[in-house]
């Protein structure tokens, strides 16, 4: 892995992503009327200063270590290095499961998406047997239906595929 100032280049990516978002936010803020842009522009400039400090603190330079020591001592002394590092595929999977669930809810609605998600999650991630998966997913769906549709008298979202246009 390529290093810049002693830090793997991949460790800069979140901060650089934040910097891009902040600059976009700042440019958008300057597009507002003068009286309306005071708050967003102030927030954006403060955020740029903080992102710059974050970027500096990630370097293994004397300045970066000084910034970490003075402003965020809890992350210094190798504490970040001591954290558990998970494989990238596991991290992507951890983020993808909830997003896939959201997509499933939008497409099929709660009463179809909940049992499918609970079953799939317990089967593929939990490696559980069907004897546990089926009653738990049925109970989860029943609980959601009973709480929201019966007790709270709400119409649960039916989904794009099954809902009336």
């Amino acid at each position: 892995v390529k290093h810049v100032f002693g830090t793997p280049i991949v460790d800069y990516l979140p901060t650089l992503g934040l910097l891009v978002l902040t600059v976009v936010y700042l440019i958008t803020g300057y597009g507002y009327a003068p009286e309306a842009r005071t708050f967003p522009v102030t927030v954006a400039w403060v955020a740029i200063a903080l992102v710059a400090l974050d970027l500096l603190s990630r370097t293994k330079t004397p300045a970066g270590e000084a910034v970490t020591r003075w402003l965020n001592p809890s992350t210094s002394a190798g504490k970040l290095e001591a954290q558990t590092h998970y494989a990238l595929s596991k991290q992507i999977a951890a983020a993808a499961w909830p997003l896939a669930f959201v997509a499933l809810i939008v497409l099929t609605g709660f009463l179809v998406a909940v049992p499918i998600f609970v079953m799939a999650s317990m089967y593929f991630r939990g490696k559980r047997s069907l004897l546990i998966i089926i009653p738990v997913s049925a109970a989860a769906t029943l609980f959601i239906w009973f709480l929201f549709a019966q007790v709270l008298q709400l119409e649960l979202y039916p989904g794009v595929l099954f809902g009336n246009p």
């Binding site: 979140p14 009286e35 005071t38 708050f39 020591r69 003075w70 402003l71 965020n72 001592p73 992350t75 970040l80 954290q83 991290q91 951890a94 983020a95 909830p98 997003l99 669930f101 959201v102 809810i105 939008v106 709660f110 909940v114 998600f117 609970v118 999650s121 317990m122 991630r125 939990g126 490696k127 559980r128 546990i132 738990v136 989860a140 609980f143 959601i144 709480l147 929201f148 709270l152 709400l154 119409e155 649960l156 979202y157």
Partner: protein, 124 residues
């Protein structure tokens, strides 16, 4: 009894909690957009945990941001668009100084610790 929920294995608990959370976010105003926003903020929270950013600050910003913006506009209107309104009275100057002191506190604490260590090592 409710505390025993925490003893349930995470492979069972996580899908149940996610299902209830998404259904709850939909129930706020019967809007599927809320579910999408919940998913996006879940992803944001995960990334913040992964890259060691504090999550508390974003909660404070989301809860108080609207109020702060409204009150800032009111104050700016009272001050004819100038920032001097924030330094016009003793109480506002005191609050500004308190904010600066709070922001400088970690630096001062680190400097104090550095000087103390240096004094001890020079003394030895």
């Amino acid at each position: 009894v409710l505390a025993k929920i925490t003893l349930i294995d995470s492979s069972i608990l996580v899908p149940l909690v996610l299902s209830t959370a998404f259904a709850g976010s939909y129930a706020i105003d019967m809007s599927i957009e809320n579910v999408v926003v919940t998913g996006v903020f879940g992803l944001l929270g995960y990334l913040m945990m992964r890259y060691d950013y504090p999550r508390l600050m974003i909660i404070v910003a989301l809860v108080l941001g609207g109020n702060i913006e409204r009150n800032l506009h009111q104050s700016m209107l009272m001050g004819d668009g100038g920032w001097s309104v924030f330094f016009a009275r003793n109480i506002s100057i005191f609050l500004m100084l308190a904010i600066v002191a709070l922001l400088a506190l970690p630096i001062l604490r680190a400097l104090f610790k550095y000087w103390r260590v240096r004094t001890v090592s020079v003394g030895e």
